[in-house]
């Protein structure tokens, strides 16, 4: 993992080894988890960080099952990349549908009240501030000569930022970030006679990732220098037909195991490097539930989004405060036995201008005498599954009250 424990094997006087003896590298934009000591990065959405147990652990994969029109999953991917820009991590974006440059153009603007972003034009502007604000600051005239407060330490100790969705990120901030891209139409696939288990695009993507990780020094095997950085990998819409995969097109796909093989290789790459990946998959197009189950098990964190757009729930007054439902399918248990799935299974999300909130679904009070309330079981969906450590209850037939 990202923070190797170096305790075992060294001769020591006592058998008691302090946990902090391990060499934890401090990288901007990360923090160690309070639960298990893993290095965490923020996903860009603070409520999602909370759901995942503080953040996304370095070396793990977050799988997002897309909503029907790929609007909110794309938004979360953009939040993730924007967070990488703000924390000065490196980015790797792979897409088949849109050019990765276009995805980068659309990143939301961070809300920068108290964050210092290095801008060369900042210094001369400060001197001109007092003249302009002479008329404005009539009351607080003693403060007009003080420079504006910019806490320079904020970017390193602030974990998780907020973004304004109505504006796009300014080009200066965006160009400060190092960015690698993989766009499928640029890598033409030769119809290969070799019987590889994955389509060409997946193997090309894996090779490209491996090369970037090795070249830029994200490998854990590389000598530890003082300045390490995290690579944030965003893979958009894997498994869709544009990647050359027929997983979503047929009931019995010919290369049914291509995506799972790719995810296995991706996880191997991530475990041995300082990187995090967010993968979105159009799961509503995949008919085979068992295949979706094995895809979920090969990723560490998995959430699914279901938006109300286009469905009858959009006009349902019970859902008027929210844009969709969010399901947490899987949380990994790192360095402990039990995974901390959220207790509440009925989570809903709402995309506001300055925040993507995920909260527990609350039904509005039933004020009318004639309206009959839709039962809770129907609201949460019919496809409920009983499982050991958490899912919506479906065992109504066993309970007779």
């Amino acid at each position: 993992m990202a923070a190797p424990m170096s305790g075992v094997g060294k001769p020591s006087v006592t058998s008691f080894q302090k946990k902090t003896r391990s060499k934890l590298i401090s990288i901007a934009g990360t923090r160690p988890s309070v639960q298990n000591g893993q290095l965490l990065v923020s996903t860009g959405v603070t409520s999602l960080d909370y759901l995942l147990g503080g953040g996304l652990a370095v070396g793990t994969v977050l799988l997002i099952e897309e909503d029907r029109y790929d609007s909110y999953s794309r938004m979360i991917l953009k939040y993730f990349l924007a967070e990488g820009v703000v924390c000065r991590h490196e980015l790797f974006v792979a897409a088949a549908q849109d050019n990765p440059d276009d995805i980068l153009q659309e990143l939301p603007a961070p809300i920068l009240d108290d964050i210092a972003i290095h801008k060369p034009a900042e210094q001369p502007r400060l001197s001109s501030e007092p003249q302009e604000s002479l008329d404005a600051m009539k009351i607080a005239w003693r403060y007009q000569n003080l420079p504006k407060v910019q806490s320079a330490l904020a970017s390193s100790c602030r974990f998780g930022h907020y973004y304004d969705v109505s504006k796009t990120m300014e080009p200066e901030i965006r160009q400060a970030a190092k960015f690698h891209r993989f766009y499928v139409p640029e890598h033409p696939t030769q119809s290969s006679p070799t019987h590889s288990t994955m389509p060409e695009s997946y193997s090309a993507l894996l090779k490209s990732l491996q090369e970037v990780i090795h070249r830029e020094g994200f490998d854990l095997a590389a000598p530890m220098s003082n300045s390490r950085n995290i690579l944030r990998i965003g893979l958009h819409s894997l498994g869709s037909a544009l990647w050359g995969d027929d997983l979503c097109c047929h009931d019995n796909p010919k290369n049914g195991h291509s995506l799972t093989t790719f995810l296995y290789g991706l996880r191997a790459l991530l475990r041995s490097s300082l990187s995090v990946a967010v993968v979105t998959v159009p799961s509503h197009l995949i008919q085979d539930r068992a295949l979706m189950g094995s895809i979920t098990r090969l990723c560490d964190n998995a959430i699914a989004l279901e938006s109300f757009k286009g469905s009858e729930r959009e006009t349902n007054p019970l859902y008027k405060d929210y844009h969709g439902l969010l399901y947490v399918r899987q949380i990994p248990h790192l360095n402990c036995l039990a995974s901390k799935l959220p207790d509440h299974k009925d989570l809903a999300f709402k995309l506001k201008r300055k925040q993507f909130t995920i909260e527990r679904l609350h039904l509005p009070p039933d004020l009318s005498e004639t309206v009959s309330r839709v039962s809770r079981g129907e609201l949460s969906g019919a496809a409920a599954v009983a499982s050991a450590c958490g899912s919506v209850t479906s065992g109504n037939k066993h309970l007779d009250f």
Binding site: G7, D288, R289, S294, L337, V385, S387, G395, H398
Partner: protein, 256 residues
Amino acid sequence: MFTELNSILNASPDTITQGEFILISDRKSDASFLIHHFLTFYLKGCQLITGQRKRSAGLPGGTERVAVCFESSRNQHRESSGPRRRSHGLPQRSCRRPEEPLRVRSVQFEQFQGSDGAEEWGPPVLLVDDLSVLLSLGVSVGAVLDFSHYCRVTVCSQLKGNVAMLARCDGEEEEDDGDDEGSERLLKGLTHQCSLTLHVQGLPTGYCRDIHGQVEVCWRRRRQCEGKYTQKKLFQYKVHDKGASFFAPGTSSAVL
């Protein structure tokens, strides 16, 4: 190692029965805590070989784990500490055809057995974290069953060691849509080969915060004089940070 599970299974690290093939399976839940139990259990006295799935779950208590990355061409090999314990990772080659890696593994496995004759070790133990990953990588069910058969023959019969394997399955038991046919067949085939089965699933009444699920323990003993007999017991469990507690149904600490 979970002491309650040891007393349920009538096993202790000092006296390990040999030639056991243990199948751990789960349906829509996560039985990996049982792998942790068997790992720590066998680390106390046996020579340990672990294989396959690269997991990030470390072990509390300072024991190290050997993990082998199946698809990548890197061989990660870590020796565990302590004079009595030795772990080996199975080196693998990048595979082109799905049937190859399992045969290669079986062959390397046998080669590995012959290499260490110099020191005094206990009987070997093979732990396979997740057989279902092999299925999701495209290996056929027949090949996986053959592999488990070869492992059993080599480790249990020839070397008088133990094998523990984890197989996971997703679908409901009653449905037979053909969706999850591969892992169902694998599970059925393995159940007939093993001497001890631990099957983990969720509670039939749904999600509960204090009881994480139920374990069905099934012994299949073959006695020469009496023939085969099976004994089944059902327990409920709850997984904590550093352990798991097992109790009879209805006797959870949350209820009593």
